[in-house]
Symmetry: C2
Subunit: 327 residues, 2 copies
Amino acid sequence: MSSLDSLVACFESAFQEEIKKIALTVPQKLYEPVAYSLMIGGKRLRPALMLHAAAIFSGSLDKVMPAAMAIEIFHNFTLLHDDIMDQADMRRGLPTVHRKYNPNVAILSGDAMSILAFKYFARLKSDKLQELFTIFSTTAIEVCEGQQLDMDFETREFVTVSEYLEMIRLKTAVLIAGSLRIGALLANADQADSDLLYEYGVNVGLAFQLQDDWLDVYGDPDIFGKKQGGDICANKKTYLLLKAAEACDSSTLLELNHWLGKSDFDPVQKIAVVTAIYEKTGVSEATRLLMQNYHDKALRALDRMAIPTASKQTLIAFAGEAMVRVK
Amino acid sequence: MSSLDSLVACFESAFQEEIKKIALTVPQKLYEPVAYSLMIGGKRLRPALMLHAAAIFSGSLDKVMPAAMAIEIFHNFTLLHDDIMDQADMRRGLPTVHRKYNPNVAILSGDAMSILAFKYFARLKSDKLQELFTIFSTTAIEVCEGQQLDMDFETREFVTVSEYLEMIRLKTAVLIAGSLRIGALLANADQADSDLLYEYGVNVGLAFQLQDDWLDVYGDPDIFGKKQGGDICANKKTYLLLKAAEACDSSTLLELNHWLGKSDFDPVQKIAVVTAIYEKTGVSEATRLLMQNYHDKALRALDRMAIPTASKQTLIAFAGEAMVRVK
């Protein structure tokens, strides 16, 4: 069991106790969906990274726990509201909150979760509370900005690769990076070290999102847990699609646009055609190269930190997972 | 101009500057609806009360301003999301955010507003930051609880008067009371005084909500700005309706339920019948009596505070507005 896995387990056991309390809070119609959404789970990566960041600087895990819970509650709030906006039916194999209950319940329970996150954060005992609240609220609103850009892109004809990278930085990477920064600051790390951990987190977050894009096309569906080509069928503006559109010649672009514009298509055929265009334009390699760049930048940030080798090893291993090709 | 009016004006001028900044923040599609919602306005009562509470204890208004803005942003966030849940088309004479833009924009802009409120709150400089954040987040989540109870009541057949009063305490009164408490604490008022101001605020808030219920039936529509009997036509479980149902005999209850169950009715006739039942059961007087009780409790809380008479006068006059019969 890696040190991150043991922190996930440590967090999970404390968090389940809190979820039980939340589930018993009245009005039940408000808090039951909150508990349901938190119970469904997820990998608890953000809180584990926050706890690890605190541990690096010999911080007490108990002291950090309220912030770890806050970040996990906030993350699940964003998923809950995103699922309403995306009209998603399922999350982690179970009905989404707005399907299991109804959209109004999902809106209000989500609102309560977002506030609950701040309420947990307010349990922190620290002389840096103003700085920590500023980081948390700034990071939280950046996630909303990322979600807005993601929605904007759906209806926009042209999106550049750099706009896309900024979107995933906001929507995915800053919350991972913010978790690390908050954990470090709570353990009294200095500004330089917490900045470097943040830099590591942003770059790892970007690599993970690019991996997600790549796995949709090239991942083993048995291991990845999703059908191949889902993003392609949905015309999702992934890094691969945007990069292909930038790289291809005009006749290929016509063909690509033809398939994107088709409302009635055979999924197998569409996936085959678009994947062939990806092959021709070399976007698989381009994506893996960019992932490698972000991965390497993350490790260079670690290199510049004077922290114990064992602590670094955990973060190096975590970054390495972003480069795994199968799952 | 009362001292509260001048505080509204003082707040408004600072707030408009902030709204201009918010309107220019990118992504514009996220922040433009936020600015629109804040611009539409409202009476800015909560921030003015907060500033007044600080002024009572000789606190600096500049120091309190971030919290005053936070509370106003939070209040407008709740209205924005309530309007989605209620499918309301208009607010303050203008299209609601989800009608002017779309529901997804309204959900996400509301989310951003809720977080923005905490971001403004994090600008506060105070050695009581943990206590203040706890009060703010607790109050904020209570407002959600009140909204949930309000939604629950719509589909429930029986709601008791005491359940109703608890609902309006959470949905309306605690935010007014919390504004006063935060203002007082920021100006270093002691615990006893900030508790008394909170008690004043809860009772005034309850009186105001009961006034709202009463004005729907008995208010002058030219002054009140709403058509008479709107709540009656919508079967809204107001204090008057619940009290009438509790007080009337079984044949009158049958008649009341008959009109509540009718999907096709002449509004004028329904309003006339229900108002006649209100007359028979004396709920107008009962409502005014309860309002008077809350008003008096609010003033008794003030009585117990050793603060300047002029400061009290402002709060006495404000509570008095809850008793005005016409507008």
